[in-house]
């Protein structure tokens, strides 16, 4: 029987989760080890975000469990199919985040706070891929960044880092 823990979101919603799933979070793991986690574990994460975090953790959990069980690597084809499934799942996950960037940023902050390195690097890569190769105007539009430079200032900065702006 798997040990279950109750996580409490900042808006007081309770999530029942298997220990193995939440132990991916170094922060929660430490809380459990320190004995601070009797009863509900209060977290500074909204229920909407926490649900998303747990969705990710469960997917990762499946991945690692399957790898452990598969001690012979004979099922190369099957493995490849599973990798494809995971890729497909990840693509869907990232598409949702791209569509709702507020969730993306909530998730970024949550993965940082919960110390989930795999999720954090996945999200950072996602943002980096969105930004890479784009011109400043496109990036501002994408993330609603207000340009508070005067045109002269902007020109001066562009000139200062000329090599980076050349096509």
């Amino acid at each position: 029987m798997a040990i279950m823990y109750a996580l409490k979101s900042s808006d007081n919603e309770i999530f029942e989760v298997e220990q193995k799933v939440i132990e991916q979070s170094e922060t929660i793991k430490k809380m459990i080890e320190d004995g601070a986690a009797t009863g509900e574990i209060p977290l500074q994460v909204s229920s909407k975000t926490l649900a998303k975090v747990l969705e990710w953790c469960k997917q990762r959990q499946h991945k690692t469990v399957e790898n452990e069980n598969d001690d012979n690597k004979g099922k190369r084809k099957k493995e490849r199919d599973e990798d494809d499934d995971i890729k497909e799942w990840e693509n869907k996950f990232s598409d949702e985040l791209k569509a709702d960037k507020d969730v993306l940023f909530d998730l970024l902050l949550a993965s940082n706070y919960l110390d989930l390195p795999a999720l954090l690097s996945f999200l950072c890569q996602l943002v980096a891929d969105m930004v890479a190769g784009k011109m400043p105007e496109e990036i501002r539009r994408m993330f609603n960044i207000e340009n508070d430079f005067t045109p002269e200032e902007e020109k001066a900065i562009t000139a200062e880092h000329g090599w980076a702006f050349q096509p």
Partner: protein, 467 residues
């Protein structure tokens, strides 16, 4: 001032207009967050994001807004890739970029990497200055690479020769005690007399030529926590001894002369010895066989051995009796991988594989090389008195053209000797007639394992996993 305000107002209006248009015409608008959230992310997260961008993209963020003006100057990783130069390959621009970034940078630099596919036109003094600067900035990972496409394979690049662009590392690098990763291409290694090792170095990769193998050996043995050692050596490498208590992963490619003595590497898990053969005398060869086999017996954690076929001559001469070799493979041993086997060597391959009695996975790629001795007789009449009791997975890439009878004979052997075989993959890119011939054979051969599945891949999409 008034003019500026007016401009801003106009801009805002046009933005509104733009937004309105988008609402009607496109679904994209709901992607835009209501507030600017990215600018206020904590620095560790932003650093993580910016470090994943090509350096020029990271620098360009300076123009986004005032908040962004100086974010990039705190980047913890600086990775320069000459791809941003486009087709012009103006190396001067790359050199300028490196100077510009290093001069503007604030705070510590954990990682500095420079990749360029060109023949490096920068002069040694540039490198010297950068390394001086980085060594004062407690650099942890340093990588200076001139990546030639050819370098990614174990076949040696022909463009490099010992006389071209040698660069002697400045001595200040040898005092960088924080270094955990060092990867350098085309350098002369001359540690100063005061050098006492890199205390924290975990990963060392040298794509270079070595003037003295003693220097290399002594460099390795003074790195107490070294776990990964990758040597791609562009010239003849004299026999040398590797002593590294924590070393887990060893990859050596080049023109090698054995013995590479591995006795003092108890932690080794994965060994790759790839490359071309040196001309050596018969006498040396005799001595080497014993050395390497002895060494392999001592490696109690070894899981994977990946070798070029010519090493087989060291491990096993075809007139040697296997029973004479006292060899006990590590109990963890799993994977044996042999590249570019000359067809005549298939017999020898069987004998070697049978030495590793507990091998679970066997990967073999055959090449139709000119053979001097007639092995076919041996292979036909002889069935070794051993079997592959644990062998589960076999992949064989057949040679293109040439003596296929030998290959079929080899497949027949493996099938007959492997009671636990689960899967055998045959990769064949030869003529249609030959493919049919192989498939006919595969159907008729006796199999020791009832559960063995045979997969025939008619192309050569299959490649050995390299480093």
């Amino acid at each position: 001032m008034y003019k500026y305000k007016k401009q801003r107002k106009m801009k805002a209006q046009s933005a509104k207009k733009f937004k309105g248009k988008r609402i009607q015409n496109s679904k994209v608008l709901h992607c835009v967050p209501q507030f600017d959230r990215i600018s206020d992310l904590p620095w560790p997260i932003l650093d993580n994001i910016l470090c994943r961008l090509p350096i020029q993209d990271a620098v360009r963020t300076s123009v986004l807004s005032r908040k962004w003006r100086d974010k990039w100057v705190n980047l913890s990783k600086l990775v320069f890739d000459d791809s941003f130069l486009g087709d012009k390959k103006d190396v001067n621009r790359l050199v300028y970029a490196v100077y510009h970034v290093l001069l503007s940078h604030c705070g510590s630099i954990d990682t500095f990497k420079l990749f360029t596919r060109n023949r490096p036109a920068f002069i040694d003094s540039d490198f010297d200055r950068w390394i001086h600067f980085l060594s004062r900035n407690s650099i942890k990972e340093l990588s200076l690479e001139y990546v030639s496409r050819e370098l990614n394979s174990y076949k040696l690049p022909s463009v490099f020769s010992a006389h071209e662009f040698k660069y002697e590392l400045p001595s200040c690098l040898f005092s960088c005690q924080q270094l955990t990763h060092l990867h350098i291409t085309n350098v002369l290694l001359e540690p100063p007399d005061t050098f006492h090792g890199f205390r924290n170095l975990v990963h060392l990769q040298l794509d270079t030529f070595v003037n003295k193998t003693e220097v290399l050996a002594s460099l390795v043995c003074v790195c107490p926590v070294l776990e990964r050692l990758v040597l791609k050596i562009f010239e003849n490498l004299a026999p040398f001894s590797i002593q590294a208590l924590k070393l887990k992963y060893l990859y050596v490619a080049g023109r090698l002369a054995l013995p590479i003595v591995l006795k003092n590497c108890p932690a080794l898990v994965d060994i790759s010895l790839l490359g071309d053969e040196l001309d050596i005398s018969e006498y040396q060869l005799q001595g080497s066989i014993c050395h390497l086999v002895d060494d392999l017996s001592c490696l109690t954690n070894l899981e994977r051995l990946n070798i070029s076929s010519w090493f087989l001559t060291y491990l096993y001469r075809w007139d040697t009796d296997v029973s004479e070799l006292s060899f006990t493979p590590s109990s963890h041993f799993k994977v044996l991988q042999i590249h570019s086997i000359c067809l005549g060597d298939l017999y020898r391959t069987i004998m070697i594989a049978s030495l590793f009695s507990n091998v679970q996975e066997l990967y073999v790629s055959a090449e139709d090389l000119e053979q001097t001795e007639d092995y076919s007789v041996k292979l036909e009449g002889h069935r070794p008195g051993c079997s592959f009791d644990r062998l589960q997975i076999v992949k064989i890439q057949l040679a293109h053209g040439g003596e296929h009878d030998l290959e079929l004979e080899f497949i027949k052997f493996v099938l007959a000797l492997s009671p636990k075989l689960k899967r055998m993959t045959i990769v064949c890119s030869d003529t249609f007639d030959f493919k049919i011939l192989v498939m006919e054979g595969l159907l008729s051969f006796e199999r020791a394992s009832a559960g063995a599945r045979i997969v025939f891949l008619p192309d050569d999409t299959y490649v050995f996993c390299d480093i």
